[in-house]
């Protein structure tokens, strides 16, 4: 697990999955359906598209709301999750997934101002 956390993990949405095959990514989305085995679930992004998340261990509890998944994108475009965190919405303001999606598109439009890599320092 330490390995994937120490590399850049670009924030992406579903439309960017195909460009990140076999790479580490960070995917934020809304939990849609959890498979009965608890080992896989679907998430939707701010554009309403769905992705599949696959886990190493089955979920131990009910999962719902907004999750931030870190993992590798498989050849089939699924996210092989290493870890995930629930973004809490219990403190009042619901998470605006559509706005987050706009921000994701923006940081990919301006990689010079939001780099997902560490260049050698001068």
């Amino acid at each position: 697990m330490a390995g994937i956390l120490d590399v850049p993990k670009p924030r992406i949405n579903c439309s960017m999955l195909s460009q990140h095959i076999n790479r580490a990514v960070c995917f934020v989305g809304r939990v849609e359906k959890v498979h009965p085995t608890g080992k896989t679930f679907s998430v939707s992004d701010g554009e309403g598209n769905n992705a599949t998340v696959e886990l190493n261990e089955p979920l131990e509890e009910e999962l719902s709301g907004i999750v931030e998944v870190i993992g590798m994108v498989s050849n089939k475009g699924a996210i092989m999750a290493t870890t995930y965190d629930v973004l809490r919405e219990d403190k009042g303001t619901p998470f605006d997934l559509e706005l987050y999606n706009e921000a994701v598109k923006l940081i990919h439009d301006f990689p010079q101002h939001y780099p997902f890599e560490v260049a050698a320092s001068g």
Partner: protein, 258 residues
Amino acid sequence: MPNKWLVISAVSCVFACSGGYSETVMAGGYTQSPGGFASPSLSQGGEKKGRTRASQIVPCTVSQLMSASQADEAFRVGEVEVSQVTIVGIIRSTDKSMTNIQYKVDDMTGAPMDVKQWVDTEDPSVDNTVLPPGTYVKVSGNLRSFQNHRSVVAFSVRPLEDMNEITSHMLEVVQAHMVLSKPQTTVRILKHARRFLLVLCLIRSCPEPQGISIQDLKQRLSGISLAVIKQAVEFLSNEGHIFSTIDEDHYKSTDNDD
């Protein structure tokens, strides 16, 4: 691209009005230099291979902090000077000693960043509770480099209550770095404008009936490259200020009678 810029600004304003916003914008936005883009002081800075001083806290990514170049005590992300910064990320690990708390904060742009927060042993009112891993936080502090090791010495490590601050920080980072590096682009445009004017003046002041040649212009304007002179001639011709005479290399001004 201008439309995206409006989107960022508009969204940032919405966040500011809704109250769930950062200290950086509350402080009045980002300033480049007094007087704005067109001020002489700015073009002066441009001649000196200008840098943009950040007089306020600059929102950054961990990757930017790790890649920042360093000259003496000053750090630069591209053209943007940074010292006080904010980052937003999730705590991956913690370590507490008598005098400080150390966090590793991950904002997805690279390996987690070392954040050090001094513990105030004197003041009982200051909360020295260590925030647990998995907590999303906003860190405000100073970028430091010690023995080639970069860290942020934080004066504030605040857990996020509204996760939309993750989004707003992403927007703020792009906005801040765009705004703070803009003057260089504007300086470049101003430099070009001056050179174009020089070319026009030379063409206008030429009394010869066939006008002045590009080669003559290059000779008279030794500090300006041929490429820029040709750009100037093309622009001025398209705008109708000059026209070619005996061939494509000779030009006269259309305003000679002024």
